[in-house]
């Protein structure tokens, strides 16, 4: 998994530098940019970033504009806005679009650090969950057609005898497939298998939602 990276975007040099240094005291690596467009064009940063600390009003693409673009591109990293400005429509929009927080300058720097910490943890947790999901998916994909069918029967609570009847194979064959399924999916019990499959099913739904 990638090291958590915090990305800071602010067109004011002093603010950008001071924020970078501050966040680094948390022991987190920071990459900073003077404009929103620069961030958009850096694929690697976008991939690695666990948190984006963003000024609202910048020349060119604004902070909220960047938030929108990232959303459309499918990036869901938490964004913390820091700004001297902030009227109702803008802040409401930012929060509605899923901003993690909105701090008014000059902010209490401990507050920023706390929120960055929380955002990074949140992002890390979500990545871990996604990675796990992807891994499970790989394992599931590695099942043969027959093994898949047997797994479906197992999860449905069918006895081996019933599964054998459903699929028109011998009980022995069912037992063999069963063992392979448990092995490939790396689970030790039926309960665990069910949890895995059910959990994956729900995750799938939320991922598409």
């Amino acid at each position: 998994m990638d090291d958590p990276l915090v990305c800071v975007v602010d067109d004011d040099d002093a603010v950008r530098l001071s924020m970078s240094l501050l966040i680094e005291t948390l022991g987190l690596p920071v990459q900073s940019f003077a404009s929103a467009l620069e961030v958009l064009s850096d694929e690697e940063v976008l991939r690695r970033a666990h948190c984006l600390v963003l000024d609202v009003r910048m020349p060119g693409l604004s902070g909220v504009g960047l938030q929108e673009r990232l959303g459309r591109l499918g990036h869901t990293l938490p964004i913390i806005f820091v700004s001297a400005h902030g009227d109702v429509p803008m802040v409401a929009r930012a929060m509605r679009e899923g901003a993690f927080d909105f701090l008014q300058k000059p902010f209490n720097e401990q507050a920023l650090l706390d929120r960055v910490q929380e955002a990074v943890q949140f992002a890390a947790a979500r990545r871990a969950a996604r990675a796990r999901l992807a891994e499970i998916q790989l394992r599931v994909d590695s099942l043969t057609a027959r093994e898949s069918d047997v797994m479906a029967g197992m999860v449905a609570g069918r006895l081996n005898k019933q599964i054998a009847e459903d699929l028109g194979i011998s009980i022995k064959t069912v037992e063999q497939h069963r063992a392979r399924v448990m092995e490939k999916l790396q689970v030790d019990s039926l309960a665990e298998l069910v949890r895995l499959v059910v959990g994956m099913g729900l995750s799938e739904a939320s991922k598409n939602g």
Binding site: D12, S18, Q110
Partner: protein, 514 residues
């Protein structure tokens, strides 16, 4: 006295021969242009010089036969004859009269007659009466024109209703018309001296200006004196008047002898103009304030960046110092103070923006507790000075609200201020309670409670009404503004409780989900 030899009158016995001295007198009289008459009352004969007749257009021959009384203008006859008789009878030493005489062309001419009885009998009867006639038609016409124009002028003024004044500068007397008197409340007809009005009644602030205007005219630099100033009335109050005047007479050296003019009471108009000017000035001032406000706002925005950087950098240093351990102790406190001061500067900028900002709120997710603590800290000097103990009671886990922090602070500061004032006369313990709880419908409910005597009757019905105030120097807008702010945020502000033991104001704010 010898007299010239007449030409066509009956010869007299023994007219004395002309001599050099007599000739001189004759020539002088001729040169002066005056006509001469010489009347012997006993015989009734009257000698008249050629000029006597010539000034009326008669030849010497015609002159002799003229009957003077018949030439007199009917209007002037009585007076002329009266004066004549007076002199003849000795009532007056000299004869002096002005009258019109009919000329040959049928036109009257003004003539001035002067004469004396130069010989009387032993009984005192006049024997001989001698004198001159002077043609004063031209001078008379001029005087008559002057009088006519003055009459017209006076008539016009009287008709206009303006108050008049007529000032004999060297004599000092000033005539003030009844209208003028009533402007300054002067009763009766007591004569007024110029000094009683000018500069005595002039307002000190207008003195120099008014005198300068009059001076300019008196010296001939300006055509007319036209100036407004305040005059002190009989009751002591000052009234604005508009004065116009012109010098009517000057002496040979050009100095003003007589000045006359009008006065108008313009007090009300002046007040109205002054009021308009003040309003315009205030508007301009407000306009400038708005500019200042916009400048201050722009400045505040600009300042926020370096202030943020200062805080961040001092935060960085403090955290890096943690790795150094106790060796860094002497460095920590000063650094913390740097950070504190940056925070303080930020709050000042915050407040400045709050004061001058108008229009839409600048919102962000706000933690109520932080706002309450910040305002209480800010008002500590006031609270301390008034011996008010503050109890802050915030529920756990209060959701944040989407609000303009500065405006919220204004609302709280206002309510706290009112609470302090309410308890100003309280002898018991002065306690101010600020509470915050989750309210109904996903909002946060705050309460500010004092132990004062409750809302005054005057404002109890609706304390939020604009301009409702019980404070002597209050404007009465505080609560109205607070209510507007709270309602703009989607909340409500109301009086929860008001009794002789205290008042509680409550307001709600919609909570931010999540």
């Amino acid at each position: 006295m010898a007299v010239e030899q007449p030409q066509a009158i009956p010869a007299e016995a023994d007219a004395p021969p002309p001599d050099a001295a007599a000739e001189r007198w004759r020539l002088a009289l001729e040169a002066s242009g005056d006509g001469v008459w010489d009347w012997h009352l006993a015989s009734g004969h009257e000698y008249r010089s050629p000029l006597w007749g010539a000034m009326l257009g008669y030849t010497p021959d015609e002159t002799a036969g003229l009957e003077w009384r018949h030439l007199l203008h009917p209007e002037d006859r009585d007076e002329a004859l009266r004066r004549l008789e007076a002199c003849l009878h000795g009532s007056t030493a000299a004869y002096e009269a002005e009258f019109r005489l009919l000329g040959k062309d049928g036109k009257y001419r003004w003539v001035q007659a002067r004469g004396r009885v130069c010989e009387r009998s032993a009984a005192g009867d006049p024997v001989r009466f001698v004198g001159t006639h002077r043609d004063i038609s031209v001078a008379h016409a001029e005087i008559e024109n002057l009088r006519k124009s003055e009459r017209l002028w006076r008539f016009a003024l009287e008709g206009h209703g303006d108050a008049r004044w007529d000032w004999s500068i060297d004599g000092g007397e000033i005539y003030v018309s009844p209208s003028f008197r009533s402007i300054i409340g002067l009763c009766g007809n007591r004569p007024v001296r110029g000094n009683d009005i000018w500069p005595e009644r002039l307002h000190p602030a207008d003195l120099r200006r008014a005198m300068a205007v009059f001076d300019a005219h008196l010296r001939g630099r300006e055509q007319i004196a036209d100036v407004e100033f305040r005059l002190r009335c009989e009751d002591g109050a000052y009234r604005w008047v508009a004065v116009r005047g012109k010098v009517m007479e000057r002496n040979a050296a050009g100095q003003a002898l007589r000045m006359t003019g009008t006065v108008r009471d313009v007090h009300d108009r002046h007040l109205a103009v002054e009021r308009e000017k003040r309003q315009a000035q205030e508007l301009a001032h407000a306009g400038r304030l708005i500019h200042v406000g916009e400048m201050a706002t722009a400045l505040a925005h600009e300042l926020n960046q370096p202030l943020t950087a200062i805080r961040n950098f001092s935060g960085v240093v403090l955290r890096r110092l943690d790795a150094v351990g106790p060796l860094a102790d002497p460095l920590r406190e000063p650094l913390q103070m740097i950070a504190q001061q940056a925070l303080r500067a930020g709050e000042i900028v915050h407040r400045v923006r709050g004061f001058v900002r108008k229009g839409r709120p600048v919102t962000a997710p706000v933690a109520i507790g932080s706002v309450v603590r910040s305002v209480v800290r800010f008002m500590q000097p006031d609270l301390g000075a008034n011996n008010v103990r503050v109890v802050v009671d915030l529920a756990e886990g209060l959701p944040r609200v989407l609000a303009d922090r500065v405006q919220l602070e204004q609302v709280l500061a206002n309510l706290i201020r009112n609470a302090i004032d309410a308890m100003a006369a309280l002898t018991g313990e002065r306690v101010l309670r600020i509470t915050a709880r989750p309210g109904a419908d996903g909002c946060v409910e705050l309460a500010v409670a004092d132990k004062g005597p409750g809302l005054a009757d005057a404002i109890r019905a609706d304390p939020f009404l604009p301009f409702a105030t019980t404070k002597a120097d209050g404007v009465g807008l505080g609560l109205a503004i607070c209510r507007t702010i709270v309602e703009n945020h989607g909340g409500r502000l109301w009086v929860e409780h008001s009794s002789p033991t205290g008042t509680t104001f409550c307001f709600t704010l919609p909570a931010l989900a999540g």
